[in-house]
């Protein structure tokens, strides 16, 4: 058997040769000091690379961060599965009462403060509310001022900003 080049020697060390080639290589190594040195040098290189990679420091909070992301994702799933239907039911009930719009706003703001979840969804809800209220004011010919609904709307925005700041959103 002829001496192998570095790539072939590397494949031998990595256990990536066929059984037959590997067997031939073993008997060749017994007779060839040059290839033996090559194998030793490559093994040393591999060890250095392995040690260098295993020595990459992990962030102290890696585990907590990943678990936190998973918990938030799980929670936002529950927001969609339970929170949104619950909000719809409550909204329906409140619609039967007077002054129901501020109450709905209030409930959804509380929900936003309590739950993280999806930023895009919250921003869409916020924009929807803003446009609805603005349209109501325009249609009724009222000036846009600090009405109770607008104050609650600002509370929603504050809720979103608080969640962004404390990392309550997966995608922010």
């Amino acid at each position: 058997m002829q001496c192998l080049d570095r790539q072939e020697l590397s494949a031998y060390i990595d256990g990536e040769m066929t059984k037959e080639s590997s067997r031939q290589m073993q008997s060749h190594l017994q007779q060839c000091p040059q290839c033996r040195d090559g194998v030793l040098a490559l093994k040393e290189e591999n060890r250095m690379i392995r040690d260098a990679l295993q020595g990459i420091d992990l962030p102290a909070d890696l585990g907590a961060y990943v678990q936190g992301r998973l918990r938030r994702r799980e929670r936002s799933c529950w927001t969609l599965k339970v929170g949104v239907p619950a909000l719809l039911v409550i909204s329906g009930l409140l619609a039967l009462a007077d002054n129901w719009i501020p109450l709905i706003e209030w409930f959804s703001s509380v929900l936003q403060f309590m739950l993280g979840g999806n930023l895009a969804m919250h921003l869409l809800i916020f924009l929807g509310r803003f446009l609805t209220i603005a349209a109501q004011h325009v249609l009724q010919g009222e000036p846009v001022g600090m009405t109770p609904t607008f104050i609650v709307l600002l509370a929603c925005l504050a809720g979103i900003l608080v969640q962004i700041r404390k990392g309550g959103y997966d995608n922010a």
Binding site: M48, I49, A52, L53, G55, D57, G63, Y65, R69
Partner: protein, 179 residues
């Protein structure tokens, strides 16, 4: 059936606790591969979070067999996406984009603790082209076979051997230049 297989089976059914268990076990490996690709501690940590959230969102994609190579493929593809996006954003908003090069230059306190050899080798490794760097990480840190690596990288197993060889040769050159 071992503990990991049980966890994988439960995670496939959408069990959040089982996925947490897998995350606990694999987060360091996911982070280190992401770090070698992204060269940023912060982005690698985010990528590790993203990958496990992806698994939570599509548990049915988790394979029964060969979980680790599959997971590394998810990490690799996710990091490639991030690198592509980073290039786009770098072009559009160079001043707003700030990614840490931490890890390339170790801080003094860490350098005192870390073996000097490890730091030098790691610096050389991080200078390699992306494909060769990934191949070395998958082989010598993740212990994947050439076949598994070819699955992750989407190339023939013979090319994997070439990348490993080229990567090591290039590393040697970098280390020799450094003296």
């Amino acid at each position: 059936m071992d503990n990991e297989e049980r966890l994988i089976g439960r995670a496939r059914m959408g069990d959040g606790q089982a996925l947490s268990g897998l995350a606990e076990q694999y987060a360091p490996q996911v982070y280190r591969l992401a770090f070698c690709l992204l060269k940023s501690e912060e982005e690698a940590r985010d990528a590790a979070g993203d990958v496990f959230v992806k698994l939570y969102e599509s548990p049915e994609k988790i394979p029964v067999q060969g979980f680790k190579p599959w997971l590394m493929k998810v990490v690799y593809n996710h990091c490639l996406d991030l690198l592509r996006r980073r290039k786009t954003w770098q072009g559009l908003l160079p001043r707003l984009l700030r990614y840490s090069q931490a890890g390339l230059e170790p801080d003094p306190a860490q350098a005192a603790v870390d073996a000097e050899e490890q730091i030098i080798v790691r610096q050389a490794l991080l200078k390699l082209p992306e494909k060769e760097r990934t191949a070395l990480v998958l082989r010598y840190y993740q212990d994947l076979s050439y076949d598994e690596m070819s699955e992750v990288l989407g190339v023939a197993a013979s090319l994997v051997g070439t990348w490993l060889h080229r990567g090591k040769a290039r590393m040697k050159e970098i280390l020799e230049q450094k003296g």
